[in-house]
């Protein structure tokens, strides 16, 4: 079974303070100086795939893992880590254009890659990224490939040669279903899916492996055309103001503050329910 996992390198937005979001309708938001991380949902997709491969080793099933990202060379360190963790192939499509709000272009590039470097049996990725918040890429990839798509995935494992058991959460609750490949898996909130850390031995054994760098041209992708075809266009950005009164309850101890909170704000409300 050949599995392709897609991931995006994003700025760690939790490190930005409130004042840094005070913008004047300028596009795009400058985040080049912020520490980079793997998008949290993509990180889960990577770890869940490694878990699936762990299981297949026990069952002696052959799984080939590939990881792909689209972006600039700062992603290469992350790709190196994935090689150390057991990914057989890593790829980066060189692209310096800002495609944060163009999921159509991203999906198109992924589809072109999958067609050229595939066939793949499963394509897994996070359900959305922390900067664009588009939540469209996985769905568009599925449509472009005319594959089924499972959203909100929390786990998956190989059951048979072409059968994958997928757990996902949808509007009806938690579901477990058998999925015949090929399929796109959009990973959501998956418990216990922080990406593992490679050991020194892992790193040494992957030292000679290289990431393949691929050009957009070689995939037949024309950025100007992809930007023109984007179905929506970001026109402006505005700050979100969540500020509330922030009335601070003062006291000499936590117990006193709790008592004041209870007497002034909770007691009456609780007894009137």
């Amino acid at each position: 079974m050949r599995i392709l996992v897609l991931f995006k390198i994003v700025p760690d937005l939790d490190l930005l303070q409130d004042k840094e979001w005070t913008i004047k309708n300028t596009l795009p938001v400058e985040t080049a100086y912020v520490k980079k991380i793997i998008n949290v949902y993509d990180e889960s997709a990577l770890e869940l795939t490694l878990k699936m491969a762990d299981h297949s080793i026990n069952n002696e099933q052959q799984i080939e893992l590939s990881a792909l990202t689209i972006g600039e060379p700062h992603a290469d360190l992350f790709l190196k880590k994935l090689l150390a963790l057991g990914f057989n192939n890593t790829y980066r499509v060189q692209c310096s254009a800002d495609l944060r709000f163009n999921p159509y272009a991203i999906a198109y590039i992924i589809t072109a890659f999958a067609s050229q470097y595939g066939p793949y049996d499963l394509i897994a990725m996070g359900m959305q990224s922390s900067d664009g918040d588009n939540a469209k890429t996985a769905l568009l990839v599925a449509e472009m490939l005319t594959w089924p798509c499972i959203t909100g995935v929390t786990g998956f494992e190989l059951r048979d040669l072409d059968l994958v058991a997928v757990r996902n959460i949808n509007d009806q609750g938690l579901v477990e279903q058998l999925v015949h490949e090929p399929a796109v898996l959009a990973v959501g909130n998956a418990p216990c899916s922080l990406l593992r850390v490679p050991t020194l031995r892992d790193i040494k054994s992957a030292a000679d492996q290289e990431t393949a760098i691929i050009s957009l041209q070689s995939l037949g992708c024309d950025l100007k055309k992809l930007n023109r075809q984007n179905d929506t266009e970001l026109e402006s950005l505005n700050t979100v103001n969540n500020t509330r009164a922030g009335l601070v309850i003062e006291g000499t101890s936590a117990e006193e503050k709790a008592r004041l909170l209870y007497e002034k704000h909770l007691k009456g409300w609780l007894s009137s329910r």
């Binding site: 937005l13 939790d14 930005l16 409130d18 979001w21 709000f101 922390s130 900067d131 918040d133 939540a135 469209k136 769905l139 599925a142 449509e143 472009m144 089924p148 798509c149 959203t151 959460i169 949808n170 509007d171 009806q172 609750g173 938690l174 579901v175 477990e176 279903q177 999925v179 015949h180 959501g188 909130n189 998956a190 418990p191 216990c192 984007n230 179905d231 929506t232 026109e235 950005l237 505005n238 700050t239 979100v240 969540n242 500020t243 509330r244 009164a245 922030g246 009335l247 309850i249 936590a254 117990e255 503050k257 709790a258 008592r259 909170l261 209870y262 704000h265 409300w269 609780l270 329910r273």
Partner: protein, 325 residues
């Protein structure tokens, strides 16, 4: 503009989602002053015995009742295409849930239209439709121009609701049976039936929200008991779920439940925008955190800067004393 509403009545929360859409339509003056002003709703449901109840509860006047075998996006999309391909509407509005997001994007693709997920508001600018939604993990709002018709979008989660009690005799609906519909692309065999329950958090008037600072699963279990004693529901932030200290159905935030209780008491929550998204509609937010720089403190109505354990232990004692008095 001619528009249609798509409802997934296989979901136990369909009525709440329909009421959110109705409220959205009213806010945007798309209802002509009453619930009949929208063009049509297309309602997908699976169980025949629930049809009558769905018809009674839906806050719409004109709709198609489309029966399917069970919720599966590929089948719904194929049926929608069949129903709409001849004379598509200009706008399709989908609910603010996971099926709404998925169907909006995939349906737009199939009709060569454009799509946006989690839209809070729409406006018309120079004859173009503009959708406004949160981006950058909820830190900013972006305005997006839709480039191609039909315009398909899902609502943001947890929008305000409008309850309309329309007598069934004033409702105009037709039945369409697609329960035997199959498609060549049929990937799923369900191993477990989904639980058909509405999320308790969405209905609760009092929510205690626990963050990563609570530290471990035992503490979350303790807080679960405390919440029960106070008559509250316990919700948690994403790190708590990711550490498997609490189940997924207790997750609050952009990718979990979006709630609007009278009181939300947050304990050891930092207050990142994706989490805050889940509680921002609370009438009163009370934040307890020992970190005076935690972002939640600015976004709360009432603040205690101290050890949350001492605060909650005192609160439970005071509430117990009051009960016993």
């Amino acid at each position: 503009m001619k528009y249609k509403v798509i409802i997934n009545a296989c979901s136990p929360s369909y009525k709440a989602r329909a009421e959110e859409i109705l409220s959205f339509l009213q806010e945007h003056h798309l209802t002509s002053g009453n619930a009949a002003g929208y063009n049509e709703a297309i309602v997908f449901y699976a169980e025949e015995q629930k049809a009558e109840d769905i018809i009674n509860r839906l806050p719409f006047k004109t709709f198609k009742m489309v029966r399917i075998k069970h919720y599966q996006p590929e089948i719904i999309l194929t049926i929608l295409q069949e129903l709409e391909i001849g004379s598509p509407a200009q706008i399709y509005i989908f609910p603010g849930d996971s099926s709404g997001n998925e169907l909006a994007v995939r349906f737009a693709w199939r009709l060569n239209g454009s799509s946006l997920v989690a839209v809070e508001k729409i406006t018309i600018q120079d004859n173009a439709l503009v959708g406004i939604k949160k981006v950058y993990s909820g830190n900013l709002r972006g305005a997006f121009i839709f480039n191609y018709k039909p315009y398909c979008f899902s609502l943001a989660r947890g929008m305000s609701r409008f309850e309309a009690d329309i007598p069934v005799e004033k409702k105009n609906y037709t039945f369409h049976d697609y329960s035997s519909k199959t498609i060549s692309l049929q990937p799923h065999d369900y191993l477990e039936s989904p639980k058909e329950e509405e999320n308790k958090l969405e209905k609760s008037s009092f929510i205690i929200a626990a963050g990563r600072g609570t530290g471990n699963s035992m503490e979350i279990s303790r807080l679960q008991n405390i919440a029960r004693e106070l008559g509250a529901e316990l919700g948690v932030s994403r790190p708590v779920v990711m550490n498997a200290w609490a189940p997924l159905d207790q997750l609050l935030g952009a990718s979990g439940a979006v709630v609007s209780p009278d009181i939300c008491l947050t304990l050891a929550v930092s207050g990142s925008p994706p989490f805050y998204y889940g509680i921002e509609k609370s009438k009163t937010i009370i934040a307890v955190n020992h970190d005076e720089h935690a972002p939640i403190l600015k976004a709360a109505d009432i603040v205690i800067i101290d050890d949350y354990k001492k605060v909650i232990d005192t609160l439970i004692k005071l509430a117990a004393d009051e009960k016993g008095a």
